[in-house]
């Protein structure tokens, strides 16, 4: 009844191809953005920013990147943690070498550097596929973390081996460092994620996105209709790494503030982002957000429920939380192997026909 497109006629291809071609979609997205930009920053406190929202935004960004590579182009990658580390260390080197450089530019440049690194590690994809490629990207993960641990130049020879993000401000508000206000940090991340999510949606709807999906669905046929596999795969690695690099830079600078490679960027990060993408829905921009929300919020929700409402011990709650997350992931994949994005699609279909069954 509320979600129905009857009476919305499209008279041009432009309208038919619009990013949100249904009025209700436009309304929902608009509402979300208004709340996210206009309301949340004023209500946010340190707990919400650190534990939930910034974490969610950073992982959504990383998931967008991995979804472009794995969901759209079909190239499995386990190197996400390593590429996030590249973004983080690139931003650290840039921010310490060029202190007066605009911070937005630093984040974008870090993404660019990660894109270049990603393309190098994407080269094996021209010869190998599937599990074998996953193993090749695993090599990237271990190599990069090792590199940032061992080569002093990357962490400016700091005796602890840690990197610390110096305070930087944007429009007069501190966004990194210990003094930064939660609202400003949140808005900074949110702006990046919003802009790049829209860009990702646009790219995946256009020529480049179609060539990625063609490679994913049937690479031989793609080649025979004139798509160059080299171009398509490497561009997917580049764009994906760009996003993951930005996520890494935000993760280190805005969320953590300090980082140490073996802990912050280990293989668990790669798996975490991969889970987000699989649970959210491969090949779906919305899925990246839904998956990130699930993976970030579910543990917190379960913990709060167990400790706060049911009165369990904190350590017990932690164990139960791990078990429940595992169970939920399995359940989810059994119920809907195509992820939360597909569930949302099914729900939309149902809503369109409601109250009739079909």
């Amino acid at each position: 009844m509320f979600y129905r497109e009857a009476g919305q006629f499209k008279t041009s291809y432009k309208a038919d191809q619009a990013i949100f071609s249904i009025t209700q979609d436009r309304f929902i997205v608009g509402l979300f953005l208004v709340v996210a930009f206009g309301v949340v920053p004023f209500l946010i406190n340190d707990y919400w920013a650190n534990a939930i929202l910034i974490q969610f935004l950073v992982y959504a960004m990383a998931a967008l990147g991995l979804n472009i590579l794995t969901g759209y182009c079909g190239q499995v990658s386990l190197g996400t943690g390593g590429f996030m580390a590249v973004g983080a260390y690139a931003s650290y080197k840039l921010v310490t070498s060029f202190p007066e450089l605009n911070f937005i530019l630093i984040i974008l440049l870090s993404g660019g550097i990660t894109a270049a690194v990603g393309m190098v590690f994407g080269l094996p994809s021209l010869r190998i596929k599937g599990f074998y490629l996953a193993v090749a990207t695993l090599a990237a993960q271990f190599f990069l973390v090792w590199l940032f641990n061992k080569v002093g130049w990357f962490f400016n020879y700091s005796p602890t081996g840690m990197i610390v993000s110096p305070p930087r401000e944007m429009f007069g508000y501190l966004i990194t460092g210990a003094e930064a206000q939660p609202g400003a940090r949140y808005l900074f991340c949110l702006s990046f994620v919003t802009i790049f999510a829209l860009a990702a949606k646009n790219i995946t709807r256009g020529r480049i996105g179609r060539s990625w999906m063609a490679i994913r669905d049937m690479d031989i046929a793609a080649e025979l209709i004139g798509i160059r596999p080299l171009e398509a795969k490497l561009s997917a690695f580049a764009v994906s790494s760009f996003y993951i690099g930005i996520a890494g830079a935000l993760y280190f600078n805005v969320w953590l503030g300090t980082a140490e490679p073996t802990e912050a960027f280990d293989i668990n990060q790669s798996f975490f982002v991969l889970f987000i993408v699989i649970i959210g829905g491969l090949g779906s921009i919305l899925g990246s957000f839904l998956g990130a929300a699930f993976m970030v919020l579910a543990p917190i929700g379960i913990k709060n429920l167990m400790v706060g409402v049911l009165g369990f011990d904190v350590s017990v709650a932690k164990h139960v939380e791990l078990m429940m997350i595992g169970t939920l992931i399995i359940l989810f994949l059994i119920v809907e192997p195509h992820g939360m994005a597909r569930l949302w699609q099914i729900l939309k279909e149902k809503l369109r026909r409601w109250p009739f069954p079909y």
């Binding site: 041009s12 291809y13 432009k14 191809q17 990013i19 860009a199 990702a200 646009n202 790219i203 709807r205 256009g206 020529r207 480049i208 179609r210 060539s211 999906m213 063609a214 994913r216 669905d217 049937m218 031989i220 046929a221 793609a222 080649e223 025979l224 209709i225 004139g226 798509i227 160059r228 596999p229 561009s235 764009v239 090949g283």
Partner: protein
């Protein structure tokens, strides 16, 4: 064939092609030529090397000997994507659609080589990129119209029935506006009505767009009906070529299909 089409000069010439996989000779010394605007059929028993021949023409296999001349360019090695850019499109024996994508996206992908706006504009989806997308959408809609698949425009092709998938695949090939269209068993597994539809589309493509068509087909009725000329392969060798009537009465062809005691020359 009521319409008199003006058959032009040679568009594709295959000269002394030999292709072997290890010790297996898939093709040996095959030569034939296809004229512009012609419907040309390749027939032969199973394993005769028909699909291998198509794969050589569009660069998927690289023959060890011989040359292929397409639109005046003589070559032996070409990559499939280059061949596609030169104007060769094809469909497959086993449907090779992009199953996760909609009909519209599949056919739009056929026009990928004709689009060139960079990633920056595409990310913005504004100005040149949007204009380009709309222009190509208009062409694609014509193809959709032509093949009468408007209703399934936004359906994922993985969910479509077989006959429609074949039609979408033809659409994807047509969207590239090829000069030469290679059809690998376009009617395999279809019922009589679907075959009639497909024949109609093939002839219409040939008539309206002037596309040269090379097709492989096992249904002799169809082949003899719609093609201008036929070449017959058997065990990688050429048995005969000519008009359907000539081929039908060729003793070697009859022998290959019906079988004889091989006591004399082939």
């Amino acid at each position: 064939m009521s319409l008199k089409r003006n058959i032009g000069d040679t568009i594709l010439a295959v000269d002394q092609i030999s292709l072997s996989f290890g010790g297996v000779k898939a093709l040996s010394n095959i030569s034939f030529s296809v004229n512009e605007h012609e419907v040309f059929a390749i027939i032969g028993p199973n394993g005769a090397g028909k699909s291998s021949m198509l794969n050589c023409i569009n660069g998927f296999y690289h023959p060890q000997e011989g040359t292929i001349t397409f639109k005046g360019n003589t070559r032996r090695h070409v990559s499939p994507s280059e061949a596609a850019r030169e104007g060769i499109a094809r469909t497959f024996q086993n449907i090779a659609l992009f199953k996760g994508m909609t009909t519209l996206d599949n056919i739009m992908t056929g026009r990928n080589t004709k689009m060139n706006k960079g990633i920056f504009w595409q990310a913005l989806r504004f100005g040149p990129a949007e204009k380009e997308e709309i222009e190509h959408r208009a062409v694609v809609e014509k193809v959709i119209d032509f093949l009468e698949i408007e209703a399934i425009r936004k359906t994922a092709v993985g969910t479509l029935p077989y006959g429609l998938q074949k039609r979408v695949e033809l659409g994807r090939a047509l969207a590239a506006e090829p000069d030469l269209l290679l059809l690998d068993e376009p009617m395999a597994g279809m019922n009589i009505e679907e075959k009639q539809d497909m024949c109609r589309f093939i002839l219409d493509v040939n008539d309206e767009f002037g596309t040269t068509i090379v097709l492989i087909e096992h249904d002799m009725g169809v082949v003899m009906d719609i093609s201008d000329r036929v070449v017959v392969l058997d065990y990688g060798k050429k048995l005969a070529d000519g008009t359907p009537d000539e081929v039908r009465n060729n003793q070697a062809v009859i022998d290959a299909y019906l079988g004889v005691a091989h006591d004399d020359e082939e």
